[in-house]
């Protein structure tokens, strides 16, 4: 804890800490979107014909769709023709091991606080790193392969494991699901693929770091996680982006499949560039994340710490199809300055005895708007379904807003759905109490918000939790006192 607070002190003067740009030559598509661009992306990636067809189908559908307007966020319309849909850091040649990664790139990761070597040696976390749109390094691959675990970039999966990709890609989030998922399906350039075979417990955390580097690009990564019967995996995702005046679009899709008795734990620390104090620049983070508990007794747990992005629009959801399956959503969303977040979850109870738990902690400061939007749906066959939702909002200052939109739809009378919500402010008296014990206000606020978010932070794997605690504090710098 004190270590964390020391780090806080050090970073107290820094603003967005990850706002640098790496000078790596990029291999890019010109701005704009049409079928040729999609062919270009597919060709760049040496994709098989079926993948190109899949993309084109998504694109043609997307053309007929409209931008969603219902989230509680305001931003100027995105010009989809001004975005570059493909940017890959130029690698001299195919890389076969981590040691061959471009030194500039490696330096980038070290700045991010992830030394791939360190990760490899110390924490036993397998890392896949995606910069702009392309996966650059996957560590631990061979060790995992011995257990039958596949952890690689999506591009590689398409080439090496087409039968799996064909079977599961788009099975949870159909191409036609929504505007941004259709766009993603058409243009996604990379992402991570993770497959845990029957009965295997993945012995280490699998982790992907995403970073947007090039200017004027969008990032459209695609992640697919499949846990076969009785499999278990804990997966981590982190993201950052450089500081730029323009808004950049990030529209990712994550799909998770858990078969009988399988369990997937998915944790994110989202720290895309939030824009400056006046609200200029920042990432538009429009993400579709969904998991299906397809088998009996399966479990999917989402944990997210959302501190970045100018606008966030994201509802990691669980389809509870298998009997006795469990869905969880733990979220901390921090908004400061002019950030806007509309985030929450959907728990769709289909199977019998399905259970879901939602814990959402929203922290708003500055002029920001923070909305929780959640749907709990109990279908008519979901006998004895249970849901518990807890939505707490913490306000710093009086110019920000916290909103809660809980939707509950119950079609089975045996269901039990509970919803609790609170809104509180950090009290002057709490801060004064901390001051009186020698804590300055910045440290006091960090301590109080980490206390507020504790139930969610506790869900994160250790090394992530420490990073997340620092992030919470950094995001709220200068918002009190």
């Amino acid at each position: 804890m004190s270590e964390m607070l020391n780090t806080l002190e050090q970073t107290a003067l820094s603003e967005y800490k990850y706002g640098w740009v790496t000078n790596i030559e990029a291999d890019e598509a010109p701005p704009g979107l049409n079928e040729d661009i999609i062919r270009f992306i597919s060709a760049k990636k040496n994709e098989p014909e079926w993948m190109l067809e899949w993309r084109l189908k998504a694109y043609r559908h997307w053309l007929k769709m409209e931008v969603p307007r219902w989230p509680n966020v305001k931003y100027p319309d995105v010009d989809f023709q001004a975005i570059k849909y493909y940017s890959a850091p130029k690698q001299k040649k195919e890389i076969s091991s981590l040691d061959e990664v471009d030194p500039e790139l490696r330096a980038t990761f070290e700045k991010l606080g992830i030394s791939l070597d360190e990760q490899k040696r110390l924490s036993g976390v397998a890392v896949d790193a995606v910069i702009d749109s392309v996966s650059v390094a996957t560590t631990f691959k061979t060790q995992l392969a011995e257990m039958g675990i596949i952890f690689c970039s999506m591009s590689e999966a398409i080439k090496e494991h087409p039968e799996l990709v064909k079977k599961w890609l788009g099975s949870v989030v159909p191409v036609t699901d929504n505007f941004y998922s259709a766009l993603n399906s058409a243009v996604f350039s990379d992402g991570s693929f993770c497959y845990i075979p029957k009965g295997v417990r993945c012995p280490m955390e699998l982790s992907t770091y995403f970073r947007i580097n090039a200017a004027g690009t969008g990032q459209f990564e695609r992640t697919l996680i499949v846990a076969e019967e009785g499999a278990y995996v804990s997966y981590l995702e982190g993201c950052t982006a450089p500081q730029r005046d323009e808004n950049q679009l990030h529209a990712a899709v994550v799909e998770i499949v858990a078969l009988d008795n399988a369990e997937v734990k998915y944790s994110t620390v989202q720290n895309w560039y939030p824009g400056d104090k006046e609200g200029k620049g920042g990432i538009y983070n429009f993400v579709t994340k969904r998991g299906i508990c397809a088998g009996v007794n399966s479990k999917i747990s989402w944990t997210q710490v959302e501190t970045g992005s100018a606008v966030t629009w994201k509802y990691p959801s669980v389809i509870l199809k298998g009997d006795n399956s469990v869905g969880e959503f733990y979220s901390v969303a921090v908004t400061n300055n002019h950030q806007q977040a509309d985030t929450g979850t959907k728990m769709l109870h289909i199977g019998k005895n399905t259970r879901s738990r939602i814990v959402s902690k929203g922290i708003s400061a500055g002029f920001s708007q923070n909305s929780y939007r959640g749907l709990v749906n109990v279908g008519k066959n979901a006998t004895n379904a249970r849901n518990f939702s807890q939505c707490d909002s913490l306000l710093l200052g009086d110019k920000c807003g916290a909103h809660t939109f809980p939707y509950i739809e119950v079609k089975n009378s045996t269901a039990q759905v509970e919803h609790e919500a609170t809104t509180s402010k950090i009290g002057e008296d709490q801060i004064f109490y901390c001051n009186q014990r020698g804590l300055d206000t910045e440290t006091a606020v960090a301590l109080i918000i980490n206390g507020f978010a504790k139930e969610v932070m506790n869900q994160l794997p250790m090394e992530f939790a420490i990073e997340a605690q620092k992030l919470l504090a950094i995001s709220l710098e200068g918002s009190v006192g």
Binding site: M1, S2, E3, L5, N6, G427, E428, D429, Q430, F432, Y433, C434, N435, Q436, R437, G438, L439, D440, T441, T443, L447, I448, N450, G451, F452, A453, K454, E455
Partner: protein
């Protein structure tokens, strides 16, 4: 060590402290008594640096420094401790974590290295014994759901951990059962070392049986209207505040 001269303070246009004079020397224990609303907690808050109060006049010197030039956290780091009359709750933050942060912030201010886990635990154990506080209480969220007495005991525990040079105890005895009162008082007595000073705000003479003060002051309507030795507390206990009001020439209702 603490020298208060003609201190005046107000809150929201209301004059509360109307010229306080008080000198506390190293190692001394001063008690402040006085009717409800006379300004005792206000005095404590102003000394600790609560922002709601506006200091409108006077000077305070603390360990040779102008107190009003120090931020509230620096006052604490300089050795001023306030045991609150109403300690606040901080959900999700354990007392252990809280006090560890506090200890290390204060050490940092003094140019010392943070305490490592072993040292810290050793110190915790020692002080827990001193105030007879249970480990389980310290792992819970700070003051959340604590009984009134537990909160007060926790304040004294924190005081023991932070080892201040001046401790202000604002009605720490209120809400304590007889055993707890004795334990808290003994805790305070064990911390008396000839250098550490105490300003004890209380309504009850009983506390002063345990913590024997060098001086007793009566605060009334924002002024110290009477000072004396420990026998003044006994006199107040017997006679109430009426005799003071009479001495001040105020009419006393029956």
């Amino acid at each position: 060590m603490l020298s208060i001269k003609n201190l005046q303070a107000r809150i929201e246009e209301k004059e509360i402290l109307k010229g306080i004079n008080l000198d506390i020397k190293p190692g001394e224990v001063h008690a402040i008594m006085g009717p409800n609303g006379s300004g005792k907690s206000t005095l404590a808050s102003v000394l600790a640096g609560r922002a709601d109060y506006e200091v409108t006049g006077g000077e305070v010197e603390f360990n040779g420094k102008n107190l009003f030039e120090l931020s509230p956290e620096d006052r604490s780091r300089e050795g001023l401790f306030l045991a609150f009359q109403y300690p606040v709750e901080i959900p999700g933050v354990s007392t252990t974590n809280f006090i560890k942060t506090a200890v290390n912030e204060i050490r940092k201010y003094r140019g010392e290295e943070p305490m490592d886990a072993v040292q810290f635990l050793k110190k915790m154990k020692e002080k827990m014994k001193l105030v007879e506080i249970d480990q389980s209480l310290l792992s819970r969220s700070l003051n959340e759901g604590f009984s009134g007495g537990e909160k007060k005991r926790n304040e004294i525990f924190q005081m023991a951990m932070l080892e201040p040079t001046l401790a202000i105890l604002d009605e720490t005895d209120s809400g304590l059962d007889i055993d707890a009162l004795r334990i808290v008082a003994e805790g305070v007595n064990k911390l008396r070392d000839g250098n550490r000073s105490f300003l004890v705000i209380t309504h009850y003479q009983r506390l002063l049986d345990y913590i024997v003060p060098d001086h007793v002051h009566v605060l009334y309507k924002g002024r110290i209207v009477k000072s004396g030795g420990k026998e003044l507390a006994l006199e107040l206990e017997e006679r109430g505040y009426d005799f003071i009001k009479e001495e001040l020439g105020e009419s006393v209702e029956a």
